[in-house]
């Protein structure tokens, strides 16, 4: 064997992981401009030395040969492009967009901010949209993930952020995980949850239709029928009220509308809920008692709660339980929506939403609007803009003429993809800013190559509102540039074309200058500076003053809306339910080794271990359909059809199949429907009716390889932990 010396780094750079919302701190070890090793500092929140497979081994996408290296201009049909200079591409974008403003006004734009880009990128993006394009049509994929949670929490308590920090998890007493496959979607958070159970004897209640890994650690697992969450939570509230387990002192001091609420609960008995959800009434009673009688109890949830036509109701039902028991505003309690993307919290915080500026300052508040008009030297639209889901329909109706997409891939992430693609084909002009070509940019008129997280500076805000630094570790790839620089170039050119007298300000020397502007306009961020982040590693906002320590848990003394409001709920569903024609329930989600639309994980070694989509199916259903693991199956809904292999596993309940949405060769969102929650506008990604039949082996890369030789795709329920 060759005795090679240990590789030593040219330099190591401390930065923040670009994958999920945990915000793990990591050191990139660089040799010859390649990240050859990723380590994690053991002394730093939030991950304390831990990483998951994506952070530790999945950063090789940064140097993948398919990275976009020059601007591209459409030259023929979809997917046909020619290389262009920056000047040519930027001028074309500025001229086209300016022409559209003149012809149809700013509200004919739809823009996607980016939950993967930095706070600084997103601040500049929404500033450009609002101050130059003159519209509030800016939104991002948070609409597709946590809009239900955000809307529910805003209605009930007035703030949508996770109320407690990751660091508190180890000291939990009782906690409920629902609609979150935490070990795969937030792997490092799941370590602290597991530790709370195993080391500190915390009680875990899992409420989830799928037999996720956390059920192995649970004291109690309520396996409800998909979509019946509200029934369970309402029945738990019923038990807490009936058995007088509620916290009278807290209710009297901190909440309102309690009396109406308890009247509304009367009919929601555990026996009624058992009929709806299939969960035995006795288990619902047990769960209610465990939660209410705990000294400290917390909720953690993910997409299973939010991505539903009743996502807002789900979040309200959870909030009702927290208000009823007073399990909020103390360490180890709270309402904790686990944010999906590295900077989905930060993108929302930076104003990447159609109705608010930074840190949720409302555009409809004249004083706030005036503050930003003064700072940006221009009149701004006071009307809330369109949400992501409304933008697609706007394009179809001709109301939206141009779209600017920064780092997102709506043609993988939108529901009912065929419909979304059809809508986007109606656009006059589309600009994509991305690090790779993806399904959306293939439809673009101009593609601008941007820098990945490893090639730029800035900040990300993780799931528990901790602002942390992102630092440049690699030189830019080809001619790619950081997103904020690209936006500033477009904005400046447009201001010139429009003859703007006093620029809104797009001449930033660096990202720190952008952050400084943000914090002066945002009381909640005022106390956070780059210098402080350098010193402290991270600061939890709200942080209103330079000597303020930051806020690891929220709502200690009051709620942003004053009193917490109990919301009386009705049970019902608008979801598409299985019927004789489409007899199976399809639910979608993520797997450990991949990331959302797959733009980053498929050009990575991660793809080698999980190279293709698989449909999870219960053994009873497999028996009925005469399928075994590895057979090809066609999955058809009223919207579309895909073909993939099946994996027979007890993870899925009978009658329900699960398909991850990362894989373009069997894009789950061709099947999902674009029905939305009326308040949150979030699509019903977890509920679609499908029919299944055995299919022939498709002509597809890797299809000839036997199933058991494809990476590590295997039935996780067969392990004993």
């Amino acid at each position: 064997m060759v005795v090679a010396p240990m590789l030593s780094p040219d330099h190591t750079v401390r930065t923040t992981c670009p994958y999920c919302g945990v915000g793990c701190q990591m050191n990139l070890h660089i040799k010859d401009d390649v990240i050859y090793r990723v380590s994690a500092p053991f002394d730093s929140a939030p991950n304390y030395g831990n990483l998951c497979v994506k952070g530790r081994f999945g950063l090789d996408f940064t140097t993948h040969p398919r990275r976009l290296k020059t601007p591209l201009i459409r030259n023929g049909g979809p997917g046909e492009f020619r290389e262009a200079t920056w000047d040519e591409a930027l001028n074309l974008v500025a001229e086209k967009l300016t022409q559209i403003i003149r012809e149809s006004g700013g509200d004919s734009f739809a823009t996607y901010a980016c939950a993967k880009a930095t706070n600084e990128d997103n601040y500049v993006f929404q500033k450009w949209v609002r101050a130059v394009l003159k519209t509030n049509n800016v939104d991002h994929c948070a609409r597709l993930c946590h809009a239900g949670s955000v809307t529910g929490l805003q209605l009930a308590i007035g703030s949508s952020a996770m109320s407690n920090s990751i660091a508190e998890m180890e000291h939990l007493d009782t906690f409920i995980v629902t609609g979150s496959n935490t070990t795969e979607t937030h792997p490092v958070i799941s370590l602290f949850l597991k530790r709370a159970v195993r080391q500190n004897g915390a009680k875990l209640i899992v409420i989830d239709p799928r037999q996720i890994e956390l059920t192995d650690f649970a004291t109690l697992w309520l396996r409800q029928k998909p979509g019946t969450d509200v029934a369970i939570f309402q029945a738990m509230a019923h038990v807490i009220v009936a058995e007088k387990l509620y916290n009278e002192e807290f209710i009297g001091r901190r909440t309102e509308d309690f009396n109406e609420y308890i009247e509304s609960l009367e009919k929601f008995t555990p026996e009624w809920a058992e009929g709806i959800s299939g969960v035995p009434a006795v288990q619902i009673r047990q769960a209610a008692r465990m939660y209410a009688q705990a000294e400290r109890a917390a909720f953690y949830w993910g997409m299973g709660i939010s991505q539903s036509t009743h996502g807002t109701d789900n979040a309200l039902a959870l909030t009702n339980l927290a208000l009823l028991t007073g399990h909020i505003g103390k360490p180890g309690t709270g309402l904790n929506p686990l944010r999906g993307q590295n900077n989905v919290q930060g993108c929302s915080d930076s104003g990447g939403l159609p109705n608010v500026f930074t840190a949720y300052q409302k555009i409809t508040d004249p004083a706030i609007l005036h503050k930003f008009e003064t700072a940006w030297h221009t009149a701004l639209s006071p009307d809330p803009g369109l949400t992501v889901t409304e933008m697609v329909d706007g394009a179809l109706l001709g109301k939206i003429r141009a779209m600017v997409v920064m780092g997102e891939n709506p043609l993988m992430s939108e529901p009912n993809l065929a419909h979304a693609r059809h809508a986007m084909e109606h656009l006059d002009f589309t600009v994509c800013i991305d690090i790779f070509m993806n399904e959306t940019s293939e439809l673009a008129d101009v593609i601008l190559p941007s820098a990945s997280f490893a090639e730029k500076d800035g900040t990300f805000t993780n799931s528990d509102r901790r602002v942390q630094r992102v630092r440049q570790a690699l030189p830019s790839v080809g001619e790619s540039r950081p997103d904020w620089q690209i936006i500033c170039e477009i904005a400046t050119r447009m201001e010139n074309l429009l003859g703007v007298e006093h620029s809104a300000g797009f001449a930033y020397p660096d990202t720190e200058a952008i952050w400084e502007e943000m914090r002066f306009l945002t009381p909640d961020f005022y106390g956070i500076t780059y210098e402080r982040l350098e010193r402290e590693g991270g600061v939890h906002w709200p942080c209103p003053a330079l000597d303020h320590p930051g806020t690891p848990y929220l709502f200690e003394d009051n709620f942003p809306r004053g009193r917490g409001k109990f919301w009386s709920l009705e049970y019902g569903t608008d979801s598409e339910l299985p019927d004789t024609e489409y007899p199976y329930h399809l639910t979608t989600g993520r797997v450990l080794f991949h990331w959302h639309g797959g733009t980053m994980t498929r050009p990575s070694k991660l793809n080698e271990i999980f190279p293709e989509p698989i449909l999870e199916m219960h053994p009873d259903d497999a028996h009925t359909l005469e399928l075994v693991s590895g057979d090809w199956v066609e999955v058809t809904s009223r919207r579309g059809s895909v073909v993939c292999r099946v994996m027979v596993t007890g993870r899925s309940p009978v009658g329900t199949v699960f398909l991850p949405f990362h894989f373009v060769e069997a894009a789950a969102n061709l099947l999902t429907l674009d029905k939305i929650d009326p308040r949150a506008k979030i699509p019903d990604f977890k509920m679609a009716a499908v029919r299944l039949r055995k299919a022939d082996t498709p002509i597809r890369e890797g299809a000839e390889i036997a199933f058991d030789e494809r990476g590590t795709i295997k039935d996780p329920t067969t392990y004993v932990h």
Binding site: F57, I609, T712
Partner: protein, 236 residues
């Protein structure tokens, strides 16, 4: 006062909460006690014995990572007895294990004047290089059996329990159950094991490839070919 104990370490008096280990107390006095198997993030087991210190001139040296401070104790962290013990431990370790990619242990060897040729006829722990997954390589010829990887795979971090021990006595080695390849084990490839490995036994595949002189593209295109690699290993 019974919950606090007072002792002297290398002549300096210190008072610490009962239960504090000698290693922690020494660190508070800025006295560095060398360690190999110890890691802040893992449970201490006193395996490598390189952290042994002299307590009250007792018959046996005590492993500082697991020994609690006792009231009135008189501790010497580096006297002749301690030095000789550490030197012998390092020489024995070096006689059986390939330590060329363990710079911290190499530094200790120099610091303690350990003779790398002291046990020339010792049997060496030889293991074939294991390349069974896209993310990391396992070269147990470089393994000092510190247990850290097994511990972070289990209750010290990941709760995955993919790693365990195989063999007995001198043949003890880190393994999966029944030596199945990693992709067939419960491994989730978090790499916490790689993060705590004190030697070159566990390392990212990209790092390994670059050490072998491969280009990033060659590493990217390399897929798992266990059979071919086994032959290579036999030749080497």
């Amino acid at each position: 006062m019974s919950d606090r104990v007072t002792l002297t370490i290398d002549g300096q008096e210190i008072t610490v909460p009962a239960g504090t280990t000698l290693l922690e107390a020494a660190a508070q006095l800025d006295i560095e006690v060398p360690v190999i198997c110890y890691h802040d993030a893992t449970t201490s087991n006193g395996l490598c014995r390189v952290c042994v210190v002299d307590v009250n001139n007792g018959r046996l040296l005590q492993a500082a990572c697991v020994t609690a401070c006792a009231n009135g104790g008189k501790v010497e962290t580096r006297n002749e007895r301690v030095e000789r013990s550490r030197r012998t431990i390092l020489e024995m370790l070096n006689s059986a294990v390939d330590l060329h990619q363990a710079p911290a242990i190499q530094t200790l060897m120099t610091d303690y004047n350990a003779d790398p040729t002291r046990f020339p006829d010792a049997e060496r722990r030889e293991h074939a290089l294991l390349d069974d997954n896209p993310f990391y390589m396992r070269d147990y010829s470089q393994c000092v059996l510190c247990w850290r990887c097994v511990q972070v795979c289990a209750e010290d971090a990941q709760y995955t329990f993919a790693l365990t021990f195989g063999g007995r006595g001198f043949d003890t080695h880190i393994a999966t159950a029944f030596d199945i390849p990693m992709p067939e084990s419960p491994c989730v490839f978090c790499g916490q094991c790689v993060g705590v490995c004190p030697t070159g036994a566990l390392k990212p595949k990209i790092q390994w490839g670059m050490e072998q002189g491969m280009t990033p593209d060659e590493i990217r295109q390399s897929t798992r070919r266990p059979r071919r690699r086994r032959e290579e290993t036999e030749e080497g």
